[in-house]
Subunit: 368 residues, 2 copies
DNA sequence: GTGAAAGCGCTAACAC
DNA sequence: GTGTTAGCGCTTTCAC
C-alpha cells in the first residue's frame, strides 16, 4: 500500500508466474478449477507484495460500486445520526458502503452532492430532501434512478419514501394534553414548508377539532429556530396564554427550555410541555418530560432495505402508486402533565408499523 | 444520468463531431486553443445527452481521488459528529470529498475500514484510532501513507497527531474543585488503555499532588460504561465518600446523572460535579453544571489541514519528531461547586492554542 | 485547434 | 486449470 508504488494485479501475476485472469479468479474466490499450487503461489505473491486490489478499477469495469450515497439535512442532529447509523449497519451487513453528506437544508448543496455522488457512480441514494429541488428530483423519476426519500414526502413525485406518521404523532400528543384537561394548547415548529412539520400542525388541529376545541391561530407558530424565543415570549404574554405547549421537534424544545429556564418558568407547573420527538436528556430535566418516540433506527433500516432492493432488482418502482412507508411512534409519558389523569388513554397509544411489506401501509397515517 | 445508459464522453464526442480528447479538454476547462464554435457544440451535446463525467474513470487514470477517509469511534457521540463536521467543511472548501466510517472501538472493524478506504484509493486518512492495531498503524509509517491521528496518541508511532490537552484539562478541573474547598475528589473515566483517558487521570493526580492532597485509589475508577453505575454506588457508600466527582467524559456523566436522579442525590448539594467535556443539555439540568470545553471543531479542521498538506506536498513527515498538535480547552463555570470561592482562580484558565505552526507546540501539554 | 493512440487496474468471455 | 484478449470511461502525450 506504499504511496505511489502500490502493487497491481499485474505485478502479482508476474511475480507468481500466472496470468492476470488467474489472479483475478483468485481474488474473486473462484478457486474451483485452480490447482492448490497456483493458489498458494498467488497467495504468497500477494502478501509478499502487500497487494491490495484497486476497487476503482473493478467498479469501472463492473459498472457498480457497491456504494450508496446518503444525504441528510445536518449530521449534528439526532435524527440524522441515528438514521445514518442504521443505514450504515444495514449496508455494512450487506457489503455495501455508504457515503454521507450534509445539505444544511441548502438546496444548492443538495444538488451539488447529488451530482458528485452520481459522478462517483454510487448505486443509489437515500435523501432527506430539502424539498426545494424539484427538477433534480424529477430527474430521478425520469431516469429511473434508484433513490429513497426519507422523513419528508413530496406531492406528485412518484418516488419511494419512508416517513413517520407525523399527523398521528401530533394527534396523540395533543389528545394526551386534552385528556389531561388542557384546552389552551399551543404548538411550535420550524418553518412548515416541509411535510413533516406541516403534518404535525395538521395532527394537532385534527385533535382539537375532534374534541370540539377551537383552533386559535395565535397558538400556532412555525418559526425559524432563531425566532422561536421571541415568538414564545409573545405567546406567553397573551391574556389567555396557553396552559400547554407542544414542541414540534428537538431544536424547538431546546429553545423553549432555554427561555423557560432563563425566566423561571417551570413545567409542568406553569405550563405543560410535550415534545413530539425525543432527546437524550429527558431524564435529567428538573421535571421528566413527556415525549413521542419514533422508530428512527427502523426507518433508516427500512430505507436502506428498499434502496438495496431497487438496486438489486433493477426496479425503481417510479410509478404513480409508488411506495410510501409510514412508521408510527409512541407516546412516552414521563410525568403527568398537570391535569387529572395519570396516564394517557389506552386508545391513544401509537401502534408500531410491522414492517415487512411496504405497500400494505400506504397512507395509513390517516387512520386515526 | 439514466440508469444503465448514461452518456459517456465518447457519446458527447460523437454527437458534437469532435474527438474524445477535445471533449476532455473542455471538461477540464482548457478552452485556450478551442474555437468558440467547438466549445458551443460540445456544450450543447453535453446537456442534450445529460452527460455527467464518470469520476471513477478519471481517478483511475489520475491516480488520485480527491477524497479522504475519516474513521471515528462512533458517530452517535458528540465529539465524532462535531469533528467530522469540521473536517467535512474544511474539505468541502478545498474540493475534497470525505467518506466517514465508524469503528465502534472495534479493532477488526478499524482494520477492515482502513483496508476498504485504501482499496477505494482515498488520498489519505484521518483516524481516531482504537489503539489496538499496531501493525496496521506501523504500515502507515512504513509506507509513508498520508494519515493524521486524532484525539488519541500512541507512543513510538511517528505519525502526525492532533489531540487535546487532557492532562491540563483535568488538572484545571481538579484544581477548580480544590480551590472550592474539596479534598475528597473522585474521578471516573472509561477504560484507560486509551491515552486521552489515562491523561485525564494523570492530570487529576498531578493537581492533587501539587496541592498536597493524597491520592486515593478508591476514588479513581476507570470502568466500562455499563459498570459505571455499580462502581459509583460503591464509591458513594465509602465511609469517607468523595465530596466531589469528576466525570471523565459525556457518557460517564450520563451514567452518573442517571444514578443520581434515581437516588435523589443532588449536585452540588450532595456532591459537587464537574464534567471534563461538554454536552448540549448543561443549561437544562436542575443545577447548571460546570464543564470543560474543548475546541473540537478546530481540532477537526486542523487535522484536515494537516492531512491535505501531506497529500499535496507528498510529505508524510513520518519522522521521529513528527508533529503533535495539542489543543487546550477552557473551564466553563456554570455554578459554584459547593465551596467558598465563586470563580476559578485566574491562572487556572486554559489557554487557546494559537494554531499556525504545528511544530511549535509540540508536547506543550506538560507546561502547566 | 484538434485527433489518434496508449494506458490507468481490473474483469470476463472464450480459447486452449 | 490457465492464458489471451478486449474493454470499462477517462486523461494525456504527441502528431498533424
Amino acid at each position: 500500500m506504499a504511496k505511489g508504488k502500490r502493487a497491481t494485479l499485474s505485478d502479482v501475476a508476474k511475480s507468481s508466474n500466472v496470468s492476470k485472469s488467474t489472479v483475478s479468479q483468485y481474488l474473486n474466490h473462484r478457486y474451483e478449477y485452480m490447482s492448490a499450487e497456483t493458489k498458494a503461489r498467488i497467495e504468497a505473491a500477494i502478501d509478499e507484495l502487500g497487494y491490495q486490489p484497486n476497487i476503482l478499477a473493478r467498479s469501472l469495469k463492473q459498472k457498480t460500486t457497491a456504494t450508496i450515497g446518503v444525504i441528510v439535512a445536518n449530521l449534528l442532529h439526532r435524527f440524522s445520526t441515528e438514521v445514518t447509523r442504521a443505514i450504515e449497519d444495514y449496508c455494512h451487513h450487506h457489503d455495501y458502503h455508504v457515503i454521507i453528506c450534509n445539505t444544511d437544508e441548502d438546496p444548492s448543496k443538495e444538488k451539488k452532492y447529488v451530482e458528485m455522488l452520481i459522478a462517483k457512480q454510487v448505486d443509489g441514494l437515500i435523501i432527506v430532501p430539502t424539498c426545494n429541488n424539484m427538477e433534480l428530483y424529477q430527474r430521478f423519476v425520469d431516469d429511473h434512478y434508484p433513490v429513497v426519500f426519507l422523513d419528508r414526502k413530496m406531492e406528485g413525485l412518484p418516488l419511494p419514501t419512508v416517513v413517520m406518521d407525523n399527523i398521528g404523532s401530533s394527534y396523540i400528543c395533543t389528545s394526551h394534553l386534552i385528556a389531561h384537561g388542557h384546552e389552551r394548547i399551543a404548538i411550535m415548529t420550524p418553518p412548515r414548508h416541509i411535510s413533516s412539520r406541516a403534518e404535525r400542525i395538521e395532527g394537532y388541529e385534527a385533535a382539537l377539532r375532534d374534541h370540539g376545541i377551537p383552533i386559535r391561530p395565535e397558538y400556532i407558530k412555525s418559526t425559524r429556530i432563531d425566532e422561536a424565543i421571541p415568538e414564545l415570549a409573545r405567546m406567553l404574554t397573551l391574556e389567555d396564554r396557553p396552559t400547554a405547549l407542544l414542541a414540534g421537534n428537538d431544536l424547538i424544545l431546546m429553545e423553549v427550555l432555554s427561555y423557560m429556564m432563563e425566566n423561571g418558568i417551570r413545567f409542568p407547573e406553569d405550563i405543560a410541555l410535550v415534545l413530539i420527538d425525543d432527546v437524550n436528556f429527558t431524564d435529567f430535566l428538573p421535571s421528566p418530560l413527556t415525549t413521542f418516540e419514533h422508530p428512527v433506527g427502523r426507518m433508516g433500516r427500512k430505507a436502506a432495505e428498499m434502496l438495496l432492493d431497487q438496486i438489486k432488482s433493477g426496479q425503481t418502482t417510479a410509478s404513480p402508486d409508488s411506495q410510501l412507508v409510514v412508521f408510527k411512534g409512541s407516546l412516552h409519558v414521563r410525568k403527568s402533565c398537570g391535569g387529572p389523569l395519570p396516564e394517557p388513554l389506552a386508545f391513544l397509544q401509537g401502534e408500531e408499523e410491522n414492517g415487512t411489506d411496504p405497500n400494505e401501509r400506504q397512507a395509513n397515517e390517516g387512520s386515526l
